[in-house]
Symmetry: C2
Subunit: 109 residues, 2 copies
DNA sequence: TGCATATATTAACATATGCTCATATTATAT
DNA sequence: ATATAATATGAGCATATGTTAATATATGCA
């Protein structure tokens, strides 16, 4: 019950608590690496298996797998299994929207 | 004249070009560090001198100065001079909006 | 000019990050 | 049970990053 955070009202002037700081920084950290950006950008429209991502982006399978684990831990991607193949897709609309906005912003500069 | 980027239309399916990738990743990298988040969060409502930021956030002067240079290079902050004092303030509405959104998102989780 | 205040810069250090190779795991089919 | 395909994991390495102390720079003023 008592699990609401600080600063829930309209007064967000106080210092950020440590947990919020951590979550926010981790979220942006996910978007701060070119490889992860490329992966999320690829997943924008449709799901891909790990090898599909690797082939599309010219990356090693282990590189993709490591980054997908990173993104999975932050719940930015999810997967569904089909045999031995795992189809990954994005799982955070807010983050994907920020990414799209920022890409558009950068493209039009 | 010919300096527009790729993917300016509605078809953003192609791979991201290297420059866009760099700008986007740098932008998010700025927001991926707790210290920089705290600084930008402090600058949300009003300007502060370097020492004011340091005192408020309990950081060394050199730490603040380094991070402000980082943010300044990305045009995320600006400053005005008054004597020997430099008053820093935010300078990118889009980024500040994303930061606020993500903080709120994290707070309410 | 000389001094004080505010800020910037440099170099050093410890830690974090991302990629790679090699290997392990998992599921499926024979 | 064995083999195969797809993915995950671990260790090692090079580079990036953030903080710090020490020092330099710049501005204003006596």
């Amino acid at each position: 019950m008592e699990e609401h955070k600080e600063n829930v009202g309209k007064e967000n002037d106080k210092e950020l608590d440590e947990e919020t700081l951590f979550v926010v920084s981790q979220t942006f950290k996910a978007l701060s690496d070119p490889t992860r950006i490329r992966i999320l950008h690829l997943l924008f429209h449709k799901e891909y298996p790990v090898n599909g991502i690797a082939e599309n982006l010219q990356l090693r399978q282990s590189t993709v797998s490591h980054q997908l684990r990173f993104l999975k831990n932050l719940r930015l991607v999810k997967y569904r299994r089909e045999g031995t193949t795992l189809y990954y897709s994005h799982d955070d609309e807010h983050v994907m929207h920020m990414l799209k906005q920022t890409i558009d912003h950068a493209c039009h500069s």
